[in-house]
């Protein structure tokens, strides 16, 4: 675990992590918490949109009088726009999660 340890015996955060010291544990817990917060944020956005759609369609049946590309609006809303939305949300999440990992790597020092 020590080939990259700087001369003079000073410990880097990576050594602390590798040797599971108190500091290392703290760094890791902070990362896990940040990642979890990000995932929960993603979940809230995703569940908020997906979860409100059935309720909206249930409460506003009059939406069916609007037509889009030959389909009543409720059918259209379920059949098409959710898929690109999922990709967009996933893409945003992936970028943020990778950035968190990157920041952790910088903190721990490479």
């Amino acid at each position: 675990m020590s080939p990259s340890r700087p001369p003079g015996g000073r410990r880097t955060p990576r050594d602390e992590l590798a040797e599971a010291t108190a500091h290392g544990g703290l760094y890791l817990r902070r990362l896990v918490r940040a990642q979890l917060a990000l995932s929960l944020l993603g979940l809230i956005a995703f569940a908020g949109i997906l979860g409100s759609l059935p309720l909206l369609l249930f409460l506003a049946p009059a939406l069916r009088r609007v037509e889009l590309i030959g389909l009543p609006l409720p059918v259209f809303l379920v059949a098409f726009p959710l898929f690109p939305l999922f990709v967009g949300l996933g893409w945003l999440y992936q970028r943020r999660a990778d950035a968190l990992d990157e920041a952790f790597r910088d903190l721990v020092g490479r």
Binding site: L17, F80, Y93, R110
Partner: protein, 588 residues
């Protein structure tokens, strides 16, 4: 005839390519090391290829035609499941190096004894999932060569079992990736061409208006192979074997075996369980109550959104990602690829109600994707397109059924056999391979028998149960195991048992009660995830908190799950290749 050729080409092509690719990969380099070079796009297509099953290819359209547009929530949920997988599971599991629930439970909770429990649930989920694949096979072969239902089930079951035993079509990312594009092409091209040929959606009154499905201008003739009870929505004249009859509105009639004929414009009678309403009611994505009300829709969404991560044949595919970020990138691409595919089942559901109302009379709505092209477009073009959808359907259940059977055989030969014998040593390669083959043969028998008995259950409904079971057992284990240090082995075991008991109890109660229970209870019996998932989570948390047994130090586990790559910690993170890679026998 064209259809027979198309199906044969797909079958022989996939089996041959798979076997060849296994040989090739084995002779060049280690299968799993080689796979590290695969890009996220290939991985994503492979995940999607293994995922798209008979339920997606045939089931959603059939269920939409039968029960109405609420069925297209299945398309949404089947895709959305990968978003939850991305948010909570993909990267940590890739880093942890566990790709089956048994390995995860053992490595995370230090509880090798939970393998047997996990194995039992894997068998339950994979079995529930395999039955509809075989049902799809039965009806597809019936369409293509006119064989009885059981012939298709037995033939395809045997093909899959032999294929898996010989090690073909497995671990081969490229084969599964190509399968995805075959399926997408086979469902998209006919749908687009039909819409262009027809100039949009015909019979809009029956789809969105106040009308019900009616016989087309040339009349409707249907051959019934067995007697069937139907209900006439409106007063209708009809003929049975040439003898004129008349039914009043709402009359229930038992049609005998033979030739049933409706005059042009005659109202099509519906079977039990079909959506009875006119187009306005049929096309509601959310109904007013009971089995298409908001409660059912939410329960279905919970099952699919949380169940995907618990499907045994899907997680294994994530091993071919080199690291956590690549697992994330793969999953984002899966969302895009599935989003393309799932645009099309809706089209078949709509066109099926408009142009293939004969399927309501025979109760064969599950074959709408196969039947629609040549009904809507008489002549050679329609026949060609029907051949294409039949080939796609074959690709769908061959790939998914093979993936499921590999999981079943691996679980039987490794977890169950090893546990029951009291050894966890895998034994030598030869006996391992023999046990794996035995597992594959044993593993197909029960699903085959169930598929023979389940001829009148809808494919989409059966798969919904597999998702409910996965969401109530493995989903909470993964989510809590990855993100909560406090989960204990006892907590996880209790939660899985509670979730499995409630979910399967609901499903079987619903099966027995049938359509007699309506309202909220009926909705929850039809799809119990809304109750069983919270129960599983709560049980896991409570039992873990109260668990007096000494804790395993969570720090190394959390490090392995969450520490980013490239820190020089790899010695800590990846002590061994994933056990499921070693548990599969070397392909013969």
């Amino acid at each position: 005839m064209i259809a027979i050729i198309a199906v044969s080409v797909v079958t022989i092509g996939t089996l041959g390519l798979g076997t060849w690719a296994v040989r090739f990969a084995r002779t060049t380099s280690d299968l799993f090391v080689a796979s590290r070079a695969i890009t996220p796009w290939w991985n994503a297509a492979a995940v999607s290829g293994e995922y798209l099953s008979a339920a997606s290819f045939l089931g959603i359209a059939g269920l939409a035609m039968k029960m109405g547009m609420d069925a297209i929530w299945l398309s949404v949920g089947f895709t959305a499941g990968y978003l939850t997988l991305l948010l909570f599971v993909a990267a940590p599991l890739r880093r942890f190096g566990s790709f089956t629930i048994s390995d995860f439970v053992e490595a995370r909770l230090g509880a090798p004894r939970m393998r047997l429990l996990a194995a039992a649930i894997v068998l339950g989920i994979a079995g529930f999932y395999l039955v509809p694949q075989l049902k799809g096979a039965g009806i597809t072969l019936g369409e293509v060569i006119g064989a009885p239902y059981w012939v298709g089930v037995v033939v395809v079951g045997a093909i899959v079992a032999v294929n898996v035993s010989l090690g073909g079509m497995r671990g081969i990312t490229y084969v599964q990736a190509v399968q995805f594009w075959i399926k997408t092409f086979a469902i998209a091209l006919p749908a687009c061409l039909l819409l262009i040929y027809l100039g949009g959606l015909p019979n809009r009154g029956a789809l969105f208006g106040t009308d019900v499905p009616r016989a087309p201008a040339a009349g409707l003739v249907v051959k019934l192979d067995s007697p069937r009870t139907v209900t006439f929505q409106r007063a209708t004249a009809f003929r049975i074997n040439g003898v004129p009859h008349h039914a009043v509105a709402g009359e229930k009639v038992r049609l005998p075996k033979g030739r049933f004929a409706l005059p042009p414009g005659g109202t099509v009678p519906l079977g039990q369980g079909d959506q009875r309403g006119p187009g306005v009611v049929w096309s509601r994505p959310v109904g007013h109550g009971g089995r298409d009300g908001p409660l059912f829709v939410y329960s279905l969404l919970i099952a699919t959104v949380l169940g995907t991560m618990g499907l045994p044949h899907i997680l294994v595919r994530f091993y071919t990602n080199p690291d956590g970020p690549a697992a994330r990138r793969t999953t984002v691409r899966v969302l895009g690829l599935l989003g393309i595919f799932y645009l099309f089942p809706t089209v078949y559901g709509l066109l099926g109600r408009a142009l293939a109302p004969g399927l309501y009379v025979t109760g064969e709505t599950d074959s709408v994707v196969l039947r629609l092209p040549h009904l809507a477009w008489p002549g050679v073009p329609g026949n060609l397109l029907s051949a294409l959808t039949a080939a796609g359907a074959f690709a769908a259940f061959l790939s998914t059924a093979s993936g499921l059977l590999v999981s079943i055989a691996g679980t039987l030969s490794y977890d169950v056999w090893g546990r029951l014998r009291g050894t966890s040593t895998p034994g030598d390669a030869h006996s391992r391979r023999r046990r794996f083959r035995l597992g594959a043969v044993l593993g197909i028998i029960l699903p085959m028998l169930l598929a023979l008995a389940a001829g009148n259950l809808d494919i989409g409904v059966l798969v919904g149960w597999a998702f409910a079971l996965a969401a109530s057992t493995f989903c909470p284990t993964f989510l809590l195991g990855i993100w909560w240090e406090g989960l204990t082995a006892r907590g996880a075991a209790s939660g899985m048992i509670a979730g499995a008991a409630v979910a399967s109890g609901g499903i079987f109660a619903g099966l027995i009660a049938g359509d007699t229970v309506g309202g909220a209870l009926g909705a929850l019996l039809a799809q119990p995830a809304m109750v069983s998932v919270p129960i599983a989570f709560l049980t896991m948390v409570l039992v873990s908190l109260l668990d007096p047994s000494p804790r395993v130090d969570p720090e190394p586990v959390m490090l392995a799950l969450h520490a980013p790559e490239g820190l020089g910690l790899d010695q800590l993170q990846e002590p061994s290749p994933p056990a499921d890679a070693s548990r599969e026998p070397a392909p013969a």
